[in-house]
């Protein structure tokens, strides 16, 4: 079962890479990379079990953490880019309920 789950996660990682390559917008790419990162966390956890030494989950935790830091970093930096030509925020449609 673990092997099956590992394979599934691997497949999803490949799908994420495809999305990261295809884009089209910057945010799609970031989203895909973020997803890739979270799937890596799962993969590492699974791999530990596959290898028979499940104690090394610390690595997975660090992954989760670093992934978050990079996503925030990317966003902060892309903010810095676009802030110059940043108009008013796109108004959402308000619905009367």
């Amino acid at each position: 079962m673990i092997i099956a789950a590992t394979l599934a996660v691997l497949v999803v990682m490949i799908l994420a890479i495809i999305r990261a390559v295809v884009g089209p917008s910057l945010y799609d790419r970031i989203l895909a990379v973020n997803m890739f990162g979270t799937k890596t966390v799962l993969l590492i956890a699974l791999l530990g079990f596959v290898m028979g030494r499940p104690e090394f989950l610390d690595i997975a935790m660090v992954y989760a953490l670093i992934n978050f830091v990079s996503v925030i970093g990317v966003l902060r930096l892309s903010d810095a880019f676009n802030a110059k030509h940043n108009g008013p925020v796109a108004e959402p449609a308000k619905r009367d309920s």
């Binding site: 290898m51 028979g52 030494r53 104690e55 090394f56």
Partner: protein, 129 residues
């Protein structure tokens, strides 16, 4: 056939290495060069780590009842090398930032052209400093 099965791992690593190497040489964009350098180095790391793997072995952290471990020495070497890699990357990027400030470009050809221009102008008018 056994050869292919026994060595495929190394070949993949070599292909990756060469991709990185190609990026370093062929791309004019300085940041891309550094990315290439990174890929090149990481591939070498993979190569080292593959050396240390033993079939059926596990991570070299001692535990009651486990006899077969992978070789820890390549791991140590690569830990060192990873740190060296990030050091180089950081320095290279710092240089890139400064180059951008000084030249207004991060393209190898443009920078080289600017330098050549400076040199040429110095040759023509030796009086000017």
């Amino acid at each position: 056939m056994t050869m292919i099965l026994g060595l495929y791992n190394y070949w993949i690593v070599i292909v990756l290495m060469m991709i990185g190497f190609y990026i370093i040489i062929a791309h004019g964009h300085l940041i891309k060069k550094i990315v290439g350098l990174n890929i090149f180095q990481i591939s070498v790391f993979i190569f080292y780590i593959s050396l240390g793997k033993v079939d059926g072995g596990t991570a070299p952290i001692w535990q009651e009842g486990i006899i077969l471990y992978s070789n820890p020495l390549p791991h140590v070497l690569i830990l060192t090398a990873i740190v060296v890699g990030i050091a180089t990357t950081a320095l290279g990027l710092a240089l890139t930032v400064r180059i951008k400030e000084a030249y207004g470009s991060v393209n190898e050809d443009e920078i080289q052209a600017m330098d050549n221009q400076v040199m040429a102008s110095q040759e023509k008018e030796p009086q000017q400093c």
